[in-house]
C-alpha cells in the first residue's frame, strides 16, 4: 500500500505541476510539452485505479495523435519566439474576467460531480466493485458502451464526424494550376498520343505547342 501511495502522489504532483507549467511557461512549445507530460501522468493515474483501457486510450489518442498535431501547429506558427504577453498588454487584460467566469463554472461543476459521488454511496459499494473485478476493464466498458449506451455512443460519433467534415469543408480550397500525378493517365498513355512523325520541310520547321 505504501508503494501504491508513493506512486500515486508522484504522478499527481507531476500532473498538477505540469498543468500549472502549461499556463505559466513563456515558450508555447514548452507549454505543449508540459501538456503532454500532464496527459502521460493522468493516464498513469488511470492505470493505477485499474482503468487500464482508458489510460492506454488516453496515451494513444491524446498523446499519440492530438498532442502531436498540437505541437505541429504550434511549431509551424512560430509562436515559439513570442513572449507571453497575455497579462502584460492593456488590450488583452479584458479577457481576464471571461477566463475567471469560465474557470469558476468548471470549478463549480467539479464540486457538483464530486459531491454527487459522496451522496450516492452505492457507487463505491464493495459488492459492485467485486463484480467488476471479475471481467477485465475492456470487457466491462464494451458491455455497457454497445448495449445500454449505444445511442449516446453513436450520436457522439456522428457529432465528431460532422465536426470533421465541417473542418474539412471550411479549410478546403480548390487550387488552380496545380500539377497532380494521375496514375490512370500515365498508364493509359499510348504511343500515338505522345509521338507524331512529321516530314519536316527544309528551312520551314514545324509548329509545336499548338
Amino acid at each position: 500500500m505504501i508503494a501504491h501511495s508513493i506512486f500515486f502522489y508522484t504522478f499527481s504532483i507531476i500532473a498538477i505541476v505540469s498543468a500549472i507549467m502549461v499556463t505559466a511557461s513563456k515558450n508555447t512549445v514548452h507549454s505543449v510539452f508540459f501538456l503532454i507530460l500532464d496527459f502521460i501522468s493522468i493516464s498513469c493515474l488511470f492505470i493505477m485505479i485499474g482503468a487500464e483501457f482508458l489510460g492506454m486510450i488516453m496515451l494513444i489518442v491524446y498523446v499519440g495523435a492530438v498532442a502531436v498535431l498540437f505541437l505541429f501547429v504550434v511549431m509551424m506558427l512560430n509562436v515559439a519566439q513570442q513572449k507571453n504577453q497575455w497579462f502584460a498588454s492593456e488590450a488583452s487584460s479584458k479577457h481576464i474576467p471571461v477566463g475567471l467566469i469560465i474557470s469558476t463554472l468548471i470549478f463549480v461543476e467539479l464540486i457538483i460531480v464530486i459531491g454527487g459521488w459522496k451522496y450516492k454511496p452505492d457507487l463505491f459499494d464493495i459488492n459492485n466493485s467485486l463484480e467488476l473485478a471479475k471481467v477485465s476493464n475492456t470487457h466491462s466498458l464494451g458491455q455497457v458502451l454497445y448495449t445500454d449506451y449505444i445511442h449516446v455512443f453513436q450520436i457522439s460519433g456522428m457529432i465528431l464526424l460532422v465536426a470533421m467534415i465541417g473542418a474539412i469543408v471550411l479549410t478546403f480550397r480548390k487550387r488552380v494550376g496545380v500539377k497532380t500525378q494521375s496514375y490512370i493517365k500515365q498508364i493509359s498513355r499510348e504511343r500515338s498520343d505522345g509521338v507524331r512523325v512529321l516530314n519536316v520541310e527544309s528551312n520551314k520547321g514545324v509548329k509545336i505547342d499548338d
Binding site: 483501457f53 496515451l59 505541437l71 475492456t138
Partner: protein, 332 residues
C-alpha cells in the same frame, strides 16, 4: 525490506531482458548492413571480429569517444531529451513482449494497446530533436516524420482491430495462443502485407525514410546530433524496428508457437521460435531497404490515407461479418 527484494528481483529480470535486446540491436545493425551489401554485390562490414560481427560495437565505441556538440542556438534541454526519449520508448515496449507462455516481464491485460501507445509516442523523440535543433533541415525532417508516423499509425491501429476481432482479448499471450491452430498470416494475409509496409513507414525505413532523406535534408532530424546522442537515435531506431518485427511476429506469425506441433519442432523452446520469426521479418526489412527506391512525399501520404486506411477498414467489416455470420466471434 520486502519492497527492496521485490525491487531487486524486478531489476534483475529487466536487465536480463534489456541486455540481450541491446546486444541483438547491435547484431541486427550488422545484419542489416551485410544484407544490404550482399544485394548490391559488395562485402559489407567484414573486418572487425569474425565476419565483421563486432563492427557495431566498434562504431558505438567510436561514438562514445566523440565530442557531443550542442548547437549554441538550440533549445538545450529538449535537444538532450530527444535521443533519450527515443531510446527509452524503444526499450520500454519490450516489457510486454511474451517470449513464451510464462516468460514475459509484464503480462498485462492491455498488452497490445501498450505496444501501440508506446510506438505512437515514438514520434516525440523525432519532433523534439528536429525542433530543438533550431535549424531548417532537422525541422523539415521532423515535420515530415510527424505527418508520416501519425498517418501510418492509423492503419496499424485498424489492422490491430482486425486481429483483435479474431482473438477477443488485448493480452499478447492470448493473441499468441489464439493462433495455435492457424497463424493469422493465412486468413489475414492482406492485413499482414499492409502491416509490414506500415511498419516500414512507422520506423522511417526505406522506402519511407523521408524524415532523413539525405539527398534533400542532409540527415533530417539527426543533422545537428553528434557523438553518443546520434548513436542513441540510431540504436533507438533499430530497437524500434526490432520491436515492430516482434509485433508482426506476435500478431500474425504465431509469436512463440512452433510452426508445427510435431516432435522435432516441439523440442525447440518458444523464445527461439519468436527470435527466429523476428529475424525473418527483419531480413525482409533489410531486403526492402536494399531493393526499393525512396517514395515521393505526396505518394507516401496518398498510400497511407487513400489506400491503406480504406483497405484495412473494409477488411474490418469483412472480418467481423465473416466471424458473425459463421458464429465464430470469440465471446467468453
Amino acid at each position: 525490506m520486502e519492497y527492496l527484494s521485490i525491487f531487486f528481483d524486478q531489476v534483475y529480470k529487466i536487465l536480463f531482458l534489456l541486455v540481450p535486446v541491446l546486444v541483438s540491436v547491435a547484431m541486427v545493425v550488422w545484419l542489416d548492413r551485410r544484407v544490404w551489401a550482399f544485394v548490391q554485390k559488395r562485402q559489407g562490414p567484414n573486418v572487425v571480429g569474425p565476419f565483421g560481427l563486432l563492427q557495431t560495437i566498434a562504431d558505438a565505441l567510436k561514438y562514445i569517444f566523440k565530442e557531443i556538440i550542442i548547437p549554441s542556438s538550440s533549445n538545450k534541454v529538449i535537444f538532450i531529451l530527444a535521443p533519450i526519449v527515443t531510446m527509452t520508448l524503444a526499450l520500454i515496449a519490450w516489457a510486454v513482449i511474451p517470449f513464451s507462455a510464462t516468460q514475459v516481464l509484464a503480462d498485462i491485460n492491455v498488452g497490445i494497446l501498450y505496444l501501440f501507445a508506446v510506438s505512437s509516442l515514438g514520434v516525440y523523440g523525432i519532433i523534439m530533436g528536429g525542433w530543438a535543433s533550431n535549424s531548417k533541415y532537422p525541422f523539415l525532417g521532423a515535420i515530415r516524420s510527424a505527418a508520416q508516423m501519425v498517418s501510418y499509425e492509423v492503419s496499424i491501429g485498424v489492422i490491430i482491430i482486425n486481429v483483435l476481432l479474431c482473438v477477443g482479448s488485448l493480452n499478447l499471450n492470448d493473441i499468441v495462443i489464439a493462433q495455435q491452430n492457424l497463424w493469422f498470416v493465412i486468413p489475414l494475409f492482406p492485413m499482414f502485407v499492409i502491416f509490414f509496409i506500415s511498419a516500414l513507414a512507422e520506423t522511417n525505413r526505406p522506402p519511407f525514410d523521408l524524415p532523413e532523406a539525405e539527398a534533400e535534408l542532409v540527415a533530417g532530424y539527426q543533422t545537428e546530433y553528434s557523438g553518443m546522442m546520434y548513436a542513441m537515435f540510431w540504436l533507438g531506431e533499430y530497437a524500434n524496428i526490432l520491436l515492430m518485427c516482434a509485433m508482426g511476429a506476435i500478431l500474425f506469425l504465431g509469436g512463440w508457437l512452433s510452426p508445427l506441433e510435431i516432435y522435432p519442432f516441439t523440442l525447440v523452446p518458444g523464445p527461439v521460435w519468436l527470435v527466429l520469426k523476428i529475424l525473418l521479418l527483419f531480413l525482409l526489412f533489410a531486403l526492402v531497404k536494399a531493393i526499393v527506391p525512396r517514395y515521393r512525399y505526396d505518394q507516401l501520404m496518398k498510400l497511407g490515407w487513400k489506400v491503406f486506411l480504406p483497405l484495412s477498414l473494409i477488411w474490418v467489416v469483412l472480418t467481423s461479418g465473416y466471424l458473425f455470420y459463421f458464429n465464430l466471434l470469440p465471446i467468453n
